[in-house]
């Protein structure tokens, strides 16, 4: 099995506009992602990004970085909420046909941990 050292890439920052766009595109209109007052009432400083937005951004960035086309399997654990406008980075290690990764903020707090395989599924019939 071959392994590589850890690589780091910057992830697209989840801006307010991007969170709104994702809410519409995913049909996930939970007000914690859209209404600062409701987010604050729930104990957050501001709105938080959808975990699935961060997972989606991470997979897009990983595919770009590894020249993968389609990831057959991906799995993440959400470790901590991501506030709007938080700078994010992915640290990842490639092991043959899979990649292990963390999404971290600019204080190195892990937000998401995950793995993905780089094999491709079959083409649709």
């Amino acid at each position: 099995m071959s392994t590589s050292s850890t690589s780091v890439i910057e992830l697209t920052t989840p801006s307010r506009d991007r969170i709104r766009a994702y809410a519409q595109a995913s049909n996930d209109l939970n007000p914690l992602h859209l209404d600062a007052k409701i987010a604050q009432a729930a104990g957050f400083k501001d709105v938080i990004a959808h975990g699935m937005l961060i997972m989606g951004l991470a997979i897009s960035a990983l595919k770009q970085a590894t020249n993968a086309n389609i990831l057959q399997t991906s799995h993440v654990q959400f470790k901590a909420p991501v506030l709007v406008d938080t700078p994010l980075f992915i640290t990842y290690q490639k092991h043959d046909d899979r990649v292990e990764f963390n999404v971290v903020d600019d204080h190195d707090e892990i937000k998401i941990s995950g793995t993905a395989s780089l094999q491709q599924p079959a083409n649709p019939h």
Binding site: S26, I59, Q72, F78
Partner: protein
Amino acid sequence: MPIDTSTWLDTQFPDFTVETTEVMINDFAEAVGHQHTGTPETFPIRLYMDGPQGLQQLQTLGIPVHKVLHAEQGFHYHQAIIAGMQLTAKTRVGNVSHSASGKMIFVTFNIDFYCHNDLVVEMIFGLAVRN
């Protein structure tokens, strides 16, 4: 009062069918910065959100929505999703566990998407519930 989880495992929910469209896929791809051809891997979450599920599943299990956190997510593809597919989702509770302290419950929903009886993608949707 602690939440009763004794009947959760293997609970099945009504199937639902969603048709994928180019607009749905393209909007989702743009939102997650998808720069490749094809459909983003996390797109089935959009199909799940379009179904009559979500809150209904929580209500069925007696889970208060304000106690829920999204804890885990996974996808395993058998074939790629393209526009125009009629995807039928079959959902069941695949796993239930408790933290050592008993303060958290972890529940995993397994959602399998089929197209004409062919399995397209298996999705797991894991929640942490404050007990």
